[in-house]
């Protein structure tokens, strides 16, 4: 349901798109880019996502930052590989298989998924387990909307997700970096939480392929790899499902993977992070508990040892 989230932040701090677009064309292209920009306008169709106050106090990264620095190992392990290779992914038509403990299992086309849904713009912090971070203005809807459409049965306790696996379109899956297809999972209450989004766009434009087109998960209080991309399957299950990075190394990548500055990754500290896009002299900043969403989500983990269940 759209509009469920209210906050007392104001919109005044958000950089409006036309402002940063102009800013960029001034810097990058000079007169010709300016002239083109004013005549042709934006190339991609806008999604018309409803603005919300959520994250209004955050300054988003530029669309270029967000599109050019990605971990999407299906297209290679280098940060620039997805931007180079993800164009190979066919995203139309697209559908998600919803199965398991639901009343209405079956194949949901993008039309089915988006029917009756209002897209919202939500500006969220995004924190990678590798200690880099960005701020992204997602366009999307709450996962709860989709799960309610499918009708979650009472014995379902977890939600399992799967990314498309297409060796012909994904050069990265030829190498056994992790177990393919990529899988992720959430506890049902995490999945139903109003912060948890299914995103179909960024900056009100359709999701770039390197960012997980056409539809991906966004769980802002967890490390980035939980926010699984290009989803083709969602299963409601009773038991905690196996997930890609947890299967690879459980000690390094827990099932919960909540952003937690007090629980180091065995190979590096998680106390600090660095916003991308800050240039060669950007400093590190302190990582926030639950990536700054403590107030909203800490209640989900009452009484849990967050070091043991990392």
């Amino acid at each position: 349901m759209a509009g469920r989230y209210q906050s007392d932040m104001t919109k005044d701090d958000v950089t409006p798109k036309h402002v940063w677009l102009n800013r960029r064309s001034l810097i990058a292209g000079g007169a010709s880019a300016l002239a083109l920009g004013s005549i042709a306008g934006p190339a991609a169709a806008s999604l018309g996502a409803v603005k919300t106050d959520y994250g209004a106090d955050l300054e988003p990264n530029s669309f270029d930052d967000i599109k050019s620095y990605n971990n999407f190992y299906e297209f290679g392990t280098d940060k620039s590989d997805p931007a180079r290779s993800a164009h190979m992914l066919t995203t139309e038509p697209w559908s998600i298989e919803i199965d398991g403990l639901v009343d209405n299992p079956g194949t949901y086309t993008m039309d089915d998924i988006l029917a009756g849904v209002t897209l919202e713009e939500r500006i969220y912090r995004f924190r990678c387990v590798e200690r880099w971070a960005m701020v992204v203005p997602w366009a999307g809807f709450e996962l709860a909307d989709l799960l309610n459409k499918a009708g979650v049965q009472s014995d379902a306790k977890y939600v399992a997700f799967e990314t498309a696996y297409r060796p012909d379109e994904m050069p990265g899956v030829r190498s056994p970096i992790i177990e393919w297809p990529y899988r992720e999972g959430l506890r049902l209450d995490e999945a139903m939480h109003p912060l948890t989004l299914m995103a179909t766009g960024i900056y009100d434009e359709p999701m770039p392929k390197q960012n997980g087109a056409p539809i991906r998960l966004v769980v802002p209080w967890k490390y980035g790899y939980k926010s699984i991309k290009s989803i083709v399957r969602i299963s409601l299950v009773e038991k905690q499902p196996p997930t890609a990075w947890n299967t690879y190394s459980a000690n390094e990548y827990g099932f919960y993977s909540n952003v937690n500055p007090n629980r180091d990754h065995p190979r590096w500290s998680q106390k600090y992070e660095r916003r991308i896009g800050g240039g060669l002299f950007a400093r590190q900043t302190e990582t926030l508990m639950f990536n700054g969403y403590e107030e909203e989500v800490a209640g989900l983990y009452d009484g849990m040892d967050l070091i043991e269940f990392h």
Partner: protein, 202 residues
């Protein structure tokens, strides 16, 4: 004159200072790229990784000089010291970027060195290379005498293994590239131990 001999005589005319100048230009170019957006939106990590990779590549090249001569006749021995010093220079820059631009917080630097095995291993490789860099000159060779000098410079071997291991240990997921570097390192070292004594006494 064979091709190898032709190459050798051409290389014989290359003075080491040409290599030193090229070796300074490369990181200067990377720094320029980093400051002008040419290294992407996270230039600190990119610069750090490129310098590390560069160091490892020159290191392997340095190690390959002797096998190259023994197996193919291609003789780069005259330039080997330069390659070794350039390796150290790149390792030092790699470390400097990590210290100053990347981590930049003193307590965190120390915690990383002590607590993070891949950093401990990388630091160990650097420390082993310090005496090698310091003694890579004719005066040290004379003062130490060839025997002790050669003994000391065997530290190159553990340093190389640690450097390659450092790369393997920081990979996320199963990645081929760092393993290839480690494989080449081990191959170049294994070749040394199988070589007949004449190489050492020649």
């Amino acid at each position: 004159m064979t091709t190898v001999q032709a190459i050798n005589s051409a290389l014989g005319r290359v003075p080491p200072w040409v290599l030193y100048i090229v070796s300074v230009l490369l990181p200067a170019w990377l720094l320029y790229l980093g400051m002008t957006g040419g290294l992407g939106v996270e230039p600190i990590k990119e610069l750090e990784h490129r310098l590390g990779e560069l160091a490892l590549q020159v290191f392997l090249f340095t190690l390959a000089v002797r096998p190259l001569r023994d197996w193919t006749g291609l003789n780069l021995m005259k330039l080997r010291r330069a390659f070794g010093l350039i390796t150290f220079f790149y390792v030092f820059l790699h470390l400097l970027v990590w210290l100053v631009l990347d981590v930049g917080i003193l307590s965190e630097i120390w915690a990383d060195i002590v607590k993070r095995p891949y950093i401990t291993v990388g630091m160990a490789a650097f420390v082993l290379m310090i005496p090698l860099a310091v003694t890579s000159n004719n005066l040290s060779l004379r003062k130490l005498g060839p025997k002790r000098w050669k003994g000391l410079h065997k530290l190159t071997y553990p340093a190389a293994v640690l450097a390659a291991l450092h790369y393997v240990m920081l990979a996320k997921g199963f990645q081929i590239e760092p393993l290839i570097y480690l494989g080449i390192t081990l191959l170049l070292l294994a070749g040394r131990f199988r070589l007949p004594r004449k190489a050492a006494t020649a």
